[in-house]
């Protein structure tokens, strides 16, 4: 019975046709033009090409990104992780737009000219509009670039300090503005911790909220100058993602282990000769260094603090680096002796690590909050781990769709999620790997998922193709590069062997594999090896002579054509000829034994 219109062709050819059409569509050809070229595949190609066109309609130039902040974050992380390695290598590379020393080497004049050109090109109109833009606006990157230009052109120390101060103030205003219009965006700003009310803090006049995900680095107290990275949520909340002490523009300061660059007036900010307004916050963490470290220009704040002094204090005495405290929380994912993994981060434990509360035994899957310090090698050493009782965590409903990847009596894997199957789990329709399933589950406190209901969607599209058997397994074959799945309803006619031709009729699964209903096998290929008959006779028939690990796990379909591996067989029993097998000639069978069909079947 021929059901699919591609009955006499192979799926591989359909792939070729699809690929050619996709290429032509991208050069402007119409869908009809493509379909006309492949009338035999029209029915199969049309929905796939319509989908391809739908996907292409989503194609747009991505919104402009300011990836410089991310670059600084990555380099800071690299500096931290790489600490302790060779000191001869450069430790820290300043962001290019702030790295004044290289600019001096390359020629400030050229840079300034280029920057001026940028300003001119952007012109008054765009620049003016950009000036009022906020994070998330299309012109916001323009605003940031113009700020960088301003900073580059501020050669005078005092002027430069003022520019930095204005820019910091602008960041705080932006944070408040995006919160007030309830825009979801991220921004970082600097300010003093003015108020701490449980998880509601006020930093530089900006109220922010902390959660258990907030990363708090170092010792932060009232009046500490910090840099805070926030995400504004759609309810107008500014959620603090990360808070760390910040004695000034970190990009302008060397890291504690850096070899300080030669003193350059353009990068050293000295507060003593500035005439900026007095600040109320003067306590800063000195930057340890072999030479006197540059110190920040203090920022004015609106909050009056009794300890305020009219001039900033500059600490030049080097002190050893203070241990950096890190607080984070998450699920306990692994518990090796001396090392746990919490929320994806490995943290070491020693004899001083406090684990509590005592009546809550720590288990994998439980939620925990960790207070740790950074060690010299960049790792984390836990000071205190507080474990949340698993039983307290409530079950959360979790619904999703996904492909069935594995199924068994007590456990399924659907769409990458492992599901626990209980006697109460309602399963609609027989499962099969590759089928789409709608899952209604409960996420338990330990993170595991218990399936409440699974609805397996049955495929309806019937396909038929013919090709060479490349691998054999109890529940999965590879035929002409296509993964063919077998279940208890699959009928196999003939003696299956790697190298034989087979005609497959079945249902097309969402993952592109075929759930076979009928497989008709022809004769095996001509052997390339002639084994000793005596050895061959003693050999047990093997059903999966060339099944690789990947093929066995269903990955073969996405791999390039695997080489055929033929297993010689001794007793040479000719296979019964199958007349009128469409599209494939019967192959000689000499040198190969008949192979018993591996499963359920037959006629």
């Amino acid at each position: 019975m021929k059901v699919g219109s591609a009955s006499n062709n192979q799926v591989r050819s359909l792939e070729d046709a699809l690929n050619a059409c996709v290429r032509e569509l991208s050069t402007g050809a119409s869908l009809e033009d493509c379909l006309t070229q492949y009338p035999g595949y029209r029915e199969e190609l049309e929905p796939l090409l319509s989908l391809a066109l739908g996907l292409q309609s989503l194609r747009q130039q991505p919104a402009p990104a300011t990836l410089q902040a991310g670059r600084r974050r990555v380099l800071r992380e690299a500096a931290r992780l790489g600490r302790g390695r060779s000191e001869s290598e450069p430790r820290f590379r300043l962001p290019s737009w702030l790295s004044l020393q290289p600019l001096m080497q390359r020629g400030v004049a050229a840079t300034v000219l280029a920057s001026l050109l940028l300003v001119i090109v952007l012109g008054g109109g765009a620049a003016a509009v950009a000036a009022s833009s906020l994070p998330g606006d299309a012109l916001y990157p323009v605003k940031r670039i113009s700020e960088e230009v301003r900073l580059l052109l501020a050669f005078d120390q005092q002027l430069r300090a003022q520019v930095i101060q204005q820019l910091e103030e602008r960041r705080r205003e932006e944070a408040k503005a995006i919160a007030s219009i309830r825009r979801v965006a991220e921004v970082s700003f600097r300010g003093a911790v003015e108020e701490v009310d449980d998880d509601r803090w006020t930093i530089g006049g900006v109220p922010v909220e902390l959660s258990d995900k907030t990363v708090l680095i170092g010792d932060v107290d009232l009046d500490t100058e910090v840099r805070v990275h926030v995400r504004s949520l759609s309810d107008g909340t500014l959620l603090a993602l990360r808070i760390e002490p910040d004695a000034g523009d970190d990009a302008l300061l060397p890291t504690p282990t850096d070899t300080p660059p030669p003193p350059t007036p353009t990068v050293t900010l000295t507060a003593t000769n500035t005439k900026l307004p007095p600040t109320s916050v003067v306590q800063q963490q000195p930057v340890p260094s072999q030479t006197p470290s540059p110190t920040e220009t203090p920022l004015p704040t609106e909050t009056e603090v009794p300890t305020a002094t009219p001039t900033p204090t500059i600490t030049l005495t080097p002190v050893p680096p203070r241990p950096v405290k890190v607080r984070f929380g998450g699920r306990i994912e692994a518990m090796e002796p001396g090392v746990w993994t919490v929320d994806g981060q490995a943290v070491r434990l020693d004899s001083n690590t406090k684990i509590g509360p005592q009546d809550v035994p720590p288990v994998i899957g439980a939620m925990a909050s960790v207070v740790a310090v950074r060690t010299d090698d960049g790792g984390l050493l836990a000071l205190e781990i507080t474990v949340e009782p698993v039983a307290q965590a409530t079950e959360q409903p979790f619904e999703f769709q996904g492909l069935v990847e594995r199924f068994g009596a007590t456990e399924w894997v659907v769409g990458g999620h492992t599901l626990i199957i209980t006697t109460d789990t309602a399963i609609e329709n027989a499962p099969q790997i590759g089928l789409l399933a709608e899952v209604n589950a409960l996420r338990r406190g330990d993170g595991s998922l218990v399936a409440v209901q699974i609805h397996v969607q049955l495929p309806s599209e019937v396909v038929q193709f013919e090709g060479t058997i490349q691998s054999l397994g109890a529940v999965q074959w590879t035929v002409e590069g296509v993964t063919v799945r077998l279940d208890d309803q699959t009928q196999v006619v003939g003696n299956a062997a790697v190298g034989s031709r087979a005609e497959v009729e079945g249902l097309l699964l969402p993952d592109g594999s075929v759930l076979a209903r009928t497989i008709v096998v022809q004769a095996a290929l001509t052997p390339t090896l002639t084994p000793e008959p005596s050895e061959a006779r003693s050999e047990e028939p093997r059903l999966t002579p060339s099944l690789t690990a990947e093929q066995a796990t269903g990955e073969a379909a996405d791999m390039p054509d695997p080489p055929l591996e033929l297993v010689p067989r001794a007793p040479q029993v000719p296979l019964p000829a199958r007349p009128a097998m469409t599209g494939g000639a019967a192959q000689p069978s000499s040198g190969y034994a008949r192979r018993d069909a591996p499963q359920k079947l037959v006629r």
């Binding site: 792939e15 402009p64 990104a65």
Partner: protein, 181 residues
């Protein structure tokens, strides 16, 4: 100045050479951002996750879980996993509308909304594909790359890309049903 050979550069990255890491970031961050942007439809989150991809890269070097074959393919897989985590976390529910719609559109608002909905559905369905399929579908159709370009980026043969394209589209069609886009 000749660009540094990638293999040499990556060896330096494994030594936490700051200049090499900066160079790698400059080479790949825009591509990773583009991929994340197309998967998420949100520039701010895509920016944040772009940096996270490279931080994960640094952490993987520490734990000797770094790339073994195609570096760029490995980076893309990290990005894919972050997208999956992002959607699983439900954080997208707190985000505003996808920001890549209705820019200077002449469409009727109803049609535009319908198209937006279809696009949103497609993005979510892409997330249900295997990581390799979703990577190929995104790079080919949302970013407009050729098979050869995708093959280089993900470290596979063009034949494998062709196959992934077919299976990805077939699976996607199943996932979104028979409706016209």
């Amino acid at each position: 100045m000749q660009p540094v050979e990638e293999s040499v550069l990556l060896e330096r990255v494994k030594s936490y050479d700051q200049a090499a890491i900066a160079e790698v970031y400059d080479r790949y961050s825009q591509r990773i951002y583009n991929y994340l942007y197309h998967r998420l439809g949100n520039a701010n989150v895509a920016e944040d996750l772009t940096a996270t991809v490279f931080v994960r890269m640094l952490e993987a070097i520490r734990t000797s879980k770094a790339w073994r074959t195609s570096f760029s393919g490995w980076l893309y897989r990290i990005a894919h996993n972050l997208v999956v985590d992002y959607f699983r976390s439900g954080r997208q529910d707190k985000q505003v509308e996808l920001d890549d719609w209705s820019i200077e559109s002449d469409e009727h608002p109803d049609e535009e909304a319908e198209r937006s909905l279809a696009g949103q559905k497609l993005r979510q369905a892409i997330g249900l594909l295997t990581d390799e399929q979703s990577l190929v579908i995104t790079l080919k159709f949302l970013e407009g790359m050729s098979n050869a370009e995708v093959a280089v980026l993900v470290g596979k043969s063009e034949g494998a890309i062709k196959s992934l394209q077919f299976r990805g589209l077939a699976a996607l069609r199943r996932l979104i049903g028979e409706q016209r886009l």
